[in-house]
């Protein structure tokens, strides 16, 4: 009897074990189905992350590395290949996301474009009317086309020295500027200068350097010729120049100035300078050799004033299509249009 009971219990135990195993296998199959989908989704998300990481790297004017794995969210992503066109307008990319044993590959072709850019067809384009304009000392404006360094004339593509919105302003500027304004012609009316206001929020939100508090700044370096940046200076309406740059300032890209700002000492900015605000006054101080190579747009309320002073002899503002082009191509101001996307 005891032996029979023992066999019965053993038999029952085996039967239960078998049933338990079956149920475990069934659960395991369900989990595997779910997990396989999870792996697939994660791998795909990682491949997408690779695309975004590459584009953000380009935004910093840096070329992303190929075949370098980045660990993220328990998986990895990498760029398998990268083939930008010579002018960087077209970008072909293959990215790979890996999660566990799932791999997801994306092949895409993108068109890189620049955002609309406030064009200035002169060394100084004045968008305010009427305008107060003064030049003193050896300050000068030159609308002839210079190279990106502002030292050599290109020999073609010359623009006016100053453009204004109205005939009266044009005559006033021509009289005040006299021989200190050069260009083709020296001064003329151009109502096509774009109001830069619509761009200012973009520049503010993307600014690499932001000056919002009164102070005196010196030895500022903003970017480089290969890595132009955005500088936003919100100076307010303080006529005593709450924001002053006293020397050793060099920058590349886009400089936005709202309000009254004084640049003293050595200022060299290569790119586009936008001066906007209430009765804006930009004063290039009498000391040093402050200057802009590229273009300057002055916009603001009626009565906006532009005061250029200085002792430099090589021109305070010279027109340079090359410097403007570099400013236009700041990485973070570019956007991408999909030409082909295979995943």
């Amino acid at each position: 009897m005891g032996r029979t009971a023992l066999f019965l219990v053993l038999g029952l135990g085996m039967a239960m074990g078998f049933i338990g195993l079956q149920m475990y296998r069934s659960d395991e199959a369900a989990i595997e189905t779910q997990y396989a989908y999870l792996k697939y989704m994660n791998a795909r998300n990682l491949a997408r992350a690779s695309v975004h990481a590459a584009l953000r790297t380009y935004d910093k004017n840096v070329t992303p590395e190929v075949n370098v794995k980045t660990r993220f969210n328990n998986g990895t992503f990498q760029i398998d290949s990268l083939a930008p066109s010579a002018n960087l307008d077209t970008l072909q990319m293959v990215t790979r996301g890996t999660f566990a044993e799932s791999t997801y590959v994306m092949r895409l072709k993108l068109l890189r474009s620049t955002r609309p850019f406030p064009t200035v067809g002169a060394a100084i384009g004045i968008r305010a009317e009427p305008v107060k304009f003064s030049l003193s000392g050896h300050a000068s404006v030159d609308g002839r086309a210079y190279d990106t360094t502002g030292t050599h004339l290109l020999g073609s593509g010359d623009k006016p020295g100053v453009t204004t919105m109205e005939d009266d302003d044009s005559a006033h500027v021509a009289t005040v500027g006299g021989s200190n304004i050069n260009g083709s012609p020296r001064v003329r009316v151009d109502t096509s200068v774009i109001d830069p206001k619509e761009y200012l929020d973009i520049y503010r939100n993307n600014a690499d350097y932001f000056y919002n508090t009164p102070g005196t700044y010196s030895s500022q370096v903003w970017g480089s010729s290969s890595n132009p940046v955005i500088v936003y200076c919100n100076a307010g309406d303080d006529t005593s120049f709450a924001v002053k740059f006293t020397g050793g300032v060099i920058g590349y890209g886009i400089l936005v100035v709202r309000g009254n700002v004084q640049f003293n000492g050595n200022l060299n900015f290569y790119g586009l300078v936008i001066v906007d605000g209430f009765n804006t006054m930009v004063s290039f101080g009498a000391a040093g050799t402050p200057g802009v190579v590229g273009g300057l747009i002055v916009a603001g309320n009626a009565g906006a004033s532009v005061t250029l002073k200085g002792t430099g002899s090589n021109g305070k503002v010279v027109y340079s299509p090359g410097a403007l082009a570099r400013a236009r191509n700041i990485g973070k101001l570019r956007y991408y249009t999909i030409l082909d996307w295979y995943e």
Binding site: L8, M23, S26, Q34, E343
Partner: protein, 193 residues
Amino acid sequence: MIDMVGAAILFGVLILAVGRVQGNLNQTMAQNTFNINTQAEAVYVARLIEYEISKAGYGVTGSKISVADEHAVTFLGAMTFGGPVDSIAYYTGEADTTTMNPSDFRFIRYAKSSGEISQRLVMTQFDLSYYDSLNVKMATPVSGPNLKAIRGINVKFRVESAEPVTDASTGLSNYNAVTWEKLIYPRNLGKPF
């Protein structure tokens, strides 16, 4: 003698208990099987839809989506890298009378290259909605020039078990179900050409 009677009673109780356990286990196994089938079908459909809809417009110039209503979508796209452009459609078919589930219908995938495949997936819901570049839901059916404005396609479907499953503890019958929903942005729909 008493031992024999006691053993017989004990054996009987054990057999009854085992029988009941076996019954419950069978039910659970059936439930699990339906569960796995439903999940596997949902994953299959999800991956198919994701794979193909994300290629909408790939290799295509001009119009990319030709039908966009609540239960049907037709689009053009190359399904392989650099491959030929195919026309793909998903839509709901007739009610499926071969299952005990009263709500299911056939799910149809049409490809110009391979024809129509009417699938019995025990699908009980297949809803589509469309979004423009501002991520605003568009009124359906989307037609005419509005088709070009589609940038996102939201897919929602539900697959259920073919037969009802009775809960061992409550005795209630129900259908196992998996609902899947995803807003897919086919990247090629935003192409400038």
